[in-house]
């Protein structure tokens, strides 16, 4: 039976991969996907600690995180579409001005 530590280490590795994606990639869609990886890394910590403490609260917070992730994906992708219409590119380096 894997212990709580196994899940915490897995979560840390996933979060590191997501962070690396946000900082190293130059594509808006991949950056959004990396944020989803980070959110899932946090989710697995919540569920594992909730299981360890014997409460359902971890799963409930995970439920809320999923809702927020859905809202974030909807607004983020709408922004990506609006930006792509203006500049025909997905590179974040092309969007350095707040107003044009």
């Amino acid at each position: 039976m894997p212990t709580l530590n196994h899940f915490l280490i897995l979560s840390g590795m996933l979060f590191a991969i997501g962070t690396a994606g946000v900082f190293l990639r130059r594509n808006l869609i991949t950056i959004l996907l990396s944020i989803e990886i980070m959110l899932n890394a946090v989710n697995i910590t919540f569920v594992a600690v909730g299981r360890y403490r014997g409460t359902v609260d971890g799963q409930i917070i995970t439920f809320f995180v999923m809702t927020v992730a859905a809202a974030e994906a909807a607004v983020g992708l709408a922004l990506v579409i609006a930006l792509f219409r203006h500049r025909e590119t997905l590179s974040p380096d092309a969007f350095t001005s707040l107003k044009w």
Binding site: M1, P2, T3, N5, L8, I9, L10, M13, L14, A16, I17, G18, A20, G21, F23, L24, R25, R26, N27, I29, T30, L32, L33, S34, E36, I37, N40, N43, I44, V47, A48, G50, R51, Y52, G54, T55, V56, Q59, I60, F63, F64, M66, T67, V68, A69, A70, A71, A73, A74, V75, L77, A78, L79, V80, I81, A82, R85, T89, L90, S91
Partner: protein, 171 residues
């Protein structure tokens, strides 16, 4: 046996996530992320959280990833046309800062885990059935956490209107 299943699922999750971050084709990234979420759902089942596992499949792998797929197809960028290479000086500076930060994080995590020692999960059947029961989750969601639940509905409404307003074509 369970140890073996954990390592298989964790390996699939990590490898698929690495693929998401390293793939140059956005479509492949989205597909690999769905694989990663499927393996994560298996890990939730191992943690006696079947409700969360099913929600993960339906909401994450189903709804959110379909949204991403729609946008990837809509923008129709098969490959990134621009070189993905940063200027060498910036890359070197980023690498130095990144290596420093990740080494610090690794030291912190290792220290924290060595302080707590190995913590195994409780094996009491009563506790397991309390954690995995959907009725318990529903009860807590609509009593203790009812305010957060109601606020979530406002959040979804706002983000729905916001997405429509932002993505609307201006005439």
């Amino acid at each position: 046996m369970e140890q073996f299943a954990f390592y298989v699922l964790a390996g699939v999750t990590i490898l698929a996530s690495l693929g998401v971050v390293s793939s140059r084709v956005p479509m492949h990234s989205v597909m690999l992320l769905i694989v990663s979420f499927g393996a994560l759902a298996g890990l939730y089942v191992m943690l006696d959280a079947p409700f969360t596992a099913v929600t993960q499949i339906i909401v994450y792998a189903g709804a959110i990833m379909v949204l991403f797929l729609f946008v990837v197809m809509l923008l129709n960028q098969h490959r990134e046309d621009e070189p993905e290479v940063m200027p060498a000086s910036l890359l070197r500076r980023n690498l130095r800062a990144g290596v420093l930060l990740s080494v610090l994080l690794a030291i912190e995590v290792a220290w924290g885990l060595s302080q707590v020692g190995l913590r195994s999960f409780g094996t009491d059947p009563g506790e397991i059935s309390a954690v995995s029961s959907v009725a318990q989750i529903g009860l807590a969601l609509f009593t203790t956490h009812s305010f957060a639940f109601e606020v979530t509905s406002v959040l979804i409404l706002v983000s729905m209107v916001g997405a429509v307003v932002i993505a609307r074509r201006e005439h």
